[in-house]
Amino acid sequence: MKILIIEDEKGLRESIEEYFTEDGNICETASDYQTAMTKVNLYRYDCILLDITLPGGNGINILKSLKENGHPDGVLIISAKNSLDDRLEGLNLGADDYLVKPFHLSELKARVSAIIRRKTFSGSNLLIFNEITIDLLAKEVKVDKTLVKLTRKEYALLLYFIANKGKVVSKNAIAEHLWGDGIDMANNFDFIYSHIKNIRKKLMEAGSNDYIQAAYGMGYKFTGQ
């Protein structure tokens, strides 16, 4: 995957770059409007992470330019402005998703994966990971040929893990992914544990390997090649 990170905040840009690069992706970065515009016009990316407030110009214009030129790049807007108008404007202009700062890198990864999946698997809705096959339209999970019955949240969690495979995903990130960031139960993560336990049990009963590992009491990690 080729990803362009347009973000003026150095710390955030580096974190995102590091998080995405480890997975064998190619990441490029742009820290201001001009650089971003040049790169967007010269190269094609699978996904562009676009910050709206940039030195030198408004990120929305980059999105407009992309769409005017008919470029198919996936665009995910990352913005500090959680205003509905901005969100609607971005999505109306053809952005694929909108993520509000601050976010967990695992959440960003999951969103980017979803965008790229939509772009590249056009037609096919199957996500295959070793013996696990996920039908994204029917929301069905199979291990080899055995159907695994997962609840809505377990399904969402499995997708989240696969998008972040090889990464430690913090419990906070999981909680926010499943319940939204309105959730205020930071000191009570027992329910996450029981979800994970259920997923592992169901997958392994269907004959899958045990991919999910607890990581130092901070989170979980989906391992596998």
Partner: protein, 432 residues
């Protein structure tokens, strides 16, 4: 007391006192004038007697004329001092008047004016008493006085009525300004309108009020902008911390102590983030920036929320009872979700393990009850940053909830009854 009432009261009291005083003076004046007139008549009569005595050297016959009696009495020479007196006049009944005849012997006394004087006929000294009836004069005085008082009273009445009408109308601009002030809210986008009035005082008042309102709004807006900007500026560093933490935990091999520290950091950042988001949200609600509204089936939304919170109910072993009627409201789904989220998560967070949560939705209200501490919560729960001890919340949840309710014309209230903390969203006050 209304200004009009106060004014009328003062007005009435002073007018009555004035009328009493002027009435007395007026009465005295008329009396004095008319008595003077009488005295002149008496003096003419006296002159006639003197003339008669001078030409005839004898006393005139005492004769009865209408309302005039003259009596002579012998007196010691020089003992009589000429003076006018108020005295009684004996009125004899008319011989023909049958009606009055048997009522009294042969007459009655009425008030009169007399002149005591003296005359010397030959070497005899006589005291003369000329008495005239004052009844007619008094009648006249009474009549004049009554008419005058009547006119004054009528005038007063007309004045009171017109005062009432005119003052009521005159004060209309004032009442309008008052009404506007009562409706005024710094958070509101509506301005106080300019008032059309021809009265300078009210024009001035209106102008001052309009200026004050716009100044207050301006200051409030500045404050809000500051809060909003501050929160916005905080978002980026929080995002950096968050992403750095996410990166840090990828570096593997943590000791228990390190992972505990990292977990605490995560919690703190997450709390900081929620707090900041809440502040931003409050500013937005107050600015009415989230105005996309649509029909929302509350029944479905609450059900969804309950499913969302299912695991958390189970984790705390809470017994959930709910009865959901059908209710549609016209509101922003984003805000209503936040509202439900806040109320339900409060009901869970402030509950004890094995407690109870009751959710009840009817056409009139949404009721969320929970067990918990056996003490009612203080009234300040709706103020910003009020937190129960040991609460992990931002202290803004209920403030936001109430703001959301008010935004849609609902009311949010709390009461404690029979061991249940109850939050009630009342739809009645607003449009559904």
């Amino acid at each position: 007391m209304r200004l009009l009432a106060k004014y009328n009261r003062v007005n009435l009291v002073t007018t009555i006192i004035m009328i009493l005083i002027t009435g007395a003076i007026y009465y005295q004046a008329i009396s004095w004038i008319l008595t003077n007139q009488k005295d002149k008549d008496l003096a003419i009569e006296e002159q006639e007697v003197f003339d008669y005595v001078r030409s005839n050297h004898q006393l005139p016959q005492t004769f009865e004329s209408n309302d005039q009696q003259i009596t002579f009495a012998e007196a010691a020479p020089g003992s009589v001092k000429r003076e006018f007196v108020n005295t009684m006049y004996f009125k004899k009944w008319d011989q023909d008047d049958v009606h009055e005849k048997h009522r009294h012997k042969n007459g009655e006394y009425e008030s009169g004016r007399g002149l005591i004087t003296s005359v010397t006929v030959g070497n005899k000294y006589y005291k003369i008493l000329i008495v005239e009836s004052k009844v007619e004069t008094e009648d006249l005085i009474r009549l004049i006085f009554t008419i005058t008082i009547g006119v004054i009273l009528l005038l007063l009445l007309v004045l009171l009525v017109t005062n009432r009408l005119i003052l009521n109308r005159l004060w209309q601009p004032f009442y309008k300004i008052m009404k506007e002030l009562r409706l005024f809210s710094v958070a509101d986008t509506r301005d106080i309108p300019k008032l059309k009035t021809s009265i300078d005082e009210f024009k001035e008042l209106n102008q001052v009020v309009v200026e004050m309102a716009s100044r207050a709004k301006h200051d409030y807006k500045d404050l809000k902008t500051f809060a909003e900007n501050a929160s916005h500026e905080l978002l980026t560093p929080i995002a950096v911390i968050n992403s750095k933490l996410d990166t840090l935990i990828q570096t593997e091999n943590f000791s228990d102590r390190q992972s505990k520290l990292l977990n605490d950091l995560y919690s703190a950042v997450s709390r900081l983030n929620r707090l900041n988001q809440s502040l931003l949200l409050l500013v937005k609600i107050e600015n009415r920036l989230l105005h996309e509204q649509k029909r929302i089936n509350l029944h479905e939304l609450v059900e969804e929320m309950i499913i969302q919170f299912e695991e958390i109910f189970q984790a705390k072993d809470l017994k959930l009872t709910y009865r959901l009627g059908d209710k549609e409201i016209y509101a922003s789904s984003y805000l209503v979700e936040i509202l439900l989220n806040n109320l339900i998560s409060n009901a869970i967070r402030h509950n004890h393990n094995g407690g109870e949560v009751i959710i009840n939705l009817t056409d009139q209200h949404l009721l969320i009850q929970n067990t918990g501490d056996q003490l009612p919560l203080p009234n300040e729960i709706f103020t910003r940053f009020h937190k129960s001890s040991g609460s992990e919340g931002s202290g803004l949840g209920l403030t936001i909830s109430r703001q959301i309710c008010e935004n849609f014309g609902f009311s949010l209230n709390y009461y404690f009854k029979e061991g249940y903390h109850t939050f009630i969203v009342d739809f009645k006050e607003g449009h559904s």
